[in-house]
């Protein structure tokens, strides 16, 4: 007779109420991106033909800097989840698959760090 709590064997192995996390996160980030990309379109229209001074002043505004940081994080997170599914579906060579999953996640995190730092630099006037 097995005296182990069934939960202990389920956690981390099966669908311990986490089965829809990826699906849900993809859609939640998509919803956020509708708003954030709407803002991006507004920003592109505002910045078309802008010189350097105008562009850095625009990004330096606290509201715009906040929108940009949110956009960068949400966009790269959504891209990471999407690329993950594409790799899972079409790449069947195990080594290549693991390498691509690693590069996708590392690239997304690196992009977030770079983006946030440059926006903060403009916003804080460093």
């Amino acid at each position: 007779m097995n005296m182990r709590n069934p939960l202990a064997t389920a956690r981390g192995l099966g669908s311990a109420k986490e089965g829809v996390h990826h699906w849900y996160a993809q859609r939640a980030s998509a919803l956020l991106l509708i708003v954030l990309v709407g803002w991006l379109i507004f920003a592109m229209i505002r910045l078309s033909g802008a010189d350097h001074a105008a562009a850095s002043a625009f990004i330096g505004q606290p509201v715009n800097a906040a929108f940009l940081i949110l956009l960068i994080v949400t966009l790269l997170y959504h891209a990471m989840l999407g690329l993950q599914v594409v790799i899972e579906d079409y790449v069947h060579q195990p080594v290549l698959e693991v390498v691509l999953h690693f590069l996708t996640r590392a690239g997304a995190l690196f992009g977030m760090a770079i983006g946030i730092i440059h926006v903060l630099k403009l916003a804080l006037g460093a």
Binding site: A55, L68, L122
Partner: protein
């Protein structure tokens, strides 16, 4: 004992199924998403780096975007962005269990395609 090879359902895109708007738009949604991840997002980051690095870097970036390679990348990014945004909304509506009838799915598909052309044209008109 070797397992007998089981029959597999063939992939939707290819010689076995008639190409349909629904399947073609679905694979295009993925392709545009991959393009936005691999080209679009780096372009956005490059823009931010160029602005924060100073006027020379900013002008060099604008110069590249105005050249023919840059223009092709920017136009393709705007096209993918418009399509992925509008078709993404179509997918989100489907996820609520609505508009799944074949006729509605096709109508929404045409709306997305027309909207993509209009939105891309507006963005190009503003940015060029």
């Amino acid at each position: 004992m070797k397992a007998k090879p089981r029959p597999l359902s063939p992939f939707m895109i290819g010689p076995y199924y008639k190409p349909q708007m629904t399947s073609l738009m679905s694979i295009t949604h993925r392709a545009s998403g991959v393009f936005l991840s691999v080209v679009g997002a780096p372009l956005l980051l490059w823009f931010l780096i160029a602005v924060s690095s100073g006027p020379e870097t900013y002008d060099a970036m604008l110069n590249f975007m105005g050249g023919w390679i840059g223009s092709v990348l920017v136009i393709a990014t705007l096209l993918c962005l418009s399509y992925h945004l509008l078709n993404g909304i179509r997918h989100l509506v489907w996820d609520t269990g609505r508009a799944l009838e074949i006729k509605t799915a096709y109508t929404a598909g045409w709306v997305v395609l027309a909207g993509t052309v209009v939105l891309t044209a507006i963005l190009l008109g503003v940015l060029l």
